[in-house]
């Protein structure tokens, strides 16, 4: 049987509530929403979703929804040297984007345009995508570029 799961992911899925305490992140993502946890005591916005606050070490966290748009702070692309299971995805364009309206700079893969057509400050939109083994993950999409050679 052909193995399709990119192996930079967990060898075994860990997105369900039987496996992780932040399964809600993946449930929300499936519904098209980006979320994370925030400390109720000191307001620290935590990324990735945590179960204890590294600032006050409390465990009283709440889920908050994050904006789905951001502006590119930096980007590049993996032109050679993909991890196992991702060789067919080359080039893999990635970037850091400052979310609009939340103090968070998020890293992710970028689809919709290749690196040659991107610029710092350009708007990106967070979207979920399906990963084999019934998983979900997030990535950025840019509008207006040529279609990229990707799983988009």
């Amino acid at each position: 049987m052909k193995r399709t799961t990119p192996t930079a992911f967990d060898f075994f899925p860990q997105e369900e509530s039987q496996q992780t305490r932040v399964s809600r992140f993946f449930e929300e993502l499936r519904a098209g929403r980006l979320s994370t946890t925030r400390c109720r005591k000191d307001g620290a916005l935590l990324w990735p979703p945590r179960v204890a606050c590294p600032r006050c070490h409390g465990e009283d966290l709440e889920w908050v929804e994050l904006p789905l748009t951001g502006r590119l702070y930096a980007f590049s692309a993996v032109l050679v040297g993909a991890p196992l299971g991702m060789e067919q995805d080359l080039p893999i364009t990635v970037g850091l984007a400052d979310l609009e309206g939340a103090p968070l700079r998020l890293f992710g893969r970028i689809v919709g345009a290749g690196w040659e057509r991107l610029s710092v400050g350009q708007r990106v939109r967070v979207e979920p995508f399906a990963v084999p083994d019934e998983r979900v993950f997030y990535r950025f999409r840019v509008d207006g570029g040529l279609a990229e050679n990707s799983s988009a």
């Binding site: 990119p6 930096a74 980007f75 993996v78 990635v94 850091l96 890293f107 710092v120």
Partner: protein
């Protein structure tokens, strides 16, 4: 800062580095043979401790519990401390720092430090997967990213904020490859790289080209550290450990802050230089972690050798060449020598000893060096490790 009793590095050796037709265990054996040849006074029975710097033997060599395996291969029976250190690209220096701490604290008298990595496998995709593990793997690595696109973003920001040019990046590579041409242990010992040739190599992660990136390398290196009062049994010219510093503050890329201001490196430098009681300007040479060309330029700035944003100009002025302010990477750097993760920091320390004892070819000999600094970053430049050495006489 008082840091226990004096500790000296009294010798070391490296294997030949490159794409080696040799296994992880064979590289360890080669390093051992070369170490005992390079340090004639070294008796296995006197070695009470062994520290092994190895980043990912579980993935690259499918082997855990590597410290006792290395002890067996080196013919050592450590009875004080035997351990492995893992700190990705700084695993080797981490092992040296652990040996230093153990000796300074009186827990060890004679310690061998071995650094080793076997990285070249038939499947480079498998090796790239290992490199993705160095990042916050489920959240950052899972996007398909490894080190090159991260440092490419660093370069992009440095170019945007300060006007750094591809030619300046290539200049780092030209210098370090030229030094490597006088280092027979180096992966690129026999390869010549001009700026024009480097600028014509393919892009790996724009704006970084192949010549801006250190390589996947197989190699090992080893050094001996001893309590100060024993140093003269091994050498007339000990390299005294005078300072040490380290800083870690984040791991996930979302928490990186400015890509061009490496706060952790400035902190580690304050700690390392401060504990040695010197300034960066007093250094005669520095082994800096040039995993990518952009790294070395920012490292000049974070060490305080030049103002922020001026790393490219500082290089172009020749300040890091022999005859300049502070010679940087006379060994050939990671760019010229290759970067077997666990071995790099140990080989840098070998270079310190060789420079202090004037035992390198003239083309890379720093004139009469007294002070040297060794730096490794690891991961996404989120950890910085540093040591300062002074030549004894």
């Amino acid at each position: 800062m008082s840091t226990g009793r004096p500790v000296a590095l009294v010798g070391g050796a490296s294997t030949v580095w490159g794409v080696r037709a040799a296994t992880w265990s064979e590289l360890v054996q080669e390093a051992g043979a070369r170490l005992f040849a390079a340090v004639p006074g070294l008796a296995a029975a006197d070695v009470d401790s062994l520290f092994v710097g190895a980043a990912e033997p579980e993935r690259f060599a499918f082997q855990s519990h590597v410290a006792p395996l290395a002890a067996e291969l080196l013919g050592l029976a450590p009875h004080r401390i035997v351990q492995r250190t893992e700190l990705a690209c700084a695993s080797g220096q981490s092992a040296i720092r652990s040996a230093y701490a153990a000796i300074a604290a009186g827990l060890s008298e004679v310690a061998v430090v071995l650094g080793v990595e076997k990285m070249n496998l038939p499947s480079m995709a498998e090796a790239n997967t290992s490199m993705a593990c160095v990042m916050d793997r489920p959240w950052d690595g899972a996007h398909g990213a490894t080190a090159p696109p991260f440092f490419a973003m660093v370069a992009q920001r440095h170019m945007l904020e300060y006007g750094t040019t591809p030619e300046q990046l290539a200049g780092v590579s030209v210098k370090n490859h030229r030094f490597a041409n006088s280092n027979p242990d180096a992966q690129f010992y026999e390869k010549k790289f001009s700026r024009e040739k480097l600028l014509g190599l393919p892009l790996v992660a724009p704006p970084l080209r192949l010549g801006d990136c250190s390589s996947m390398t197989d190699g090992a290196a080893a050094v001996v550290l001893v309590a100060g009062e024993k140093a003269r049994q091994y050498t007339d010219t000990p390299a005294w450990v005078r300072g040490s510093g380290q800083h870690a503050s984040w791991h996930n890329l979302a928490n990186s802050g400015s890509l061009t201001d490496w706060v952790g490196m400035r902190s580690a430098a304050r700690e390392a230089l401060g504990s040695a009681g010197i300034t960066a300007q007093q250094l005669d040479f520095a082994e800096l972690h040039d995993c990518f060309t952009i790294s070395e330029l920012i490292e000049y700035e974070m060490l305080g050798l030049c103002p922020r944003g001026q790393g490219g100009r500082y290089l172009e002025e020749g300040q890091t060449e022999i005859g300049g302010d502070v010679v940087v990477n006379p060994r050939g750097g990671l760019l010229g020598c290759g970067h077997p993760l666990g071995a790099t920091g140990v080989a840098q320390a070998v270079e310190v000893y060789r420079q202090f004892t004037h035992s390198v070819p003239p083309a890379r000999q720093v004139p009469d060096p007294e002070w040297a600094l060794v730096h490794n970053l690891s991961g996404s430049a989120n950890v910085h490790s540093m040591m300062v050495y002074q030549r004894g006489s």
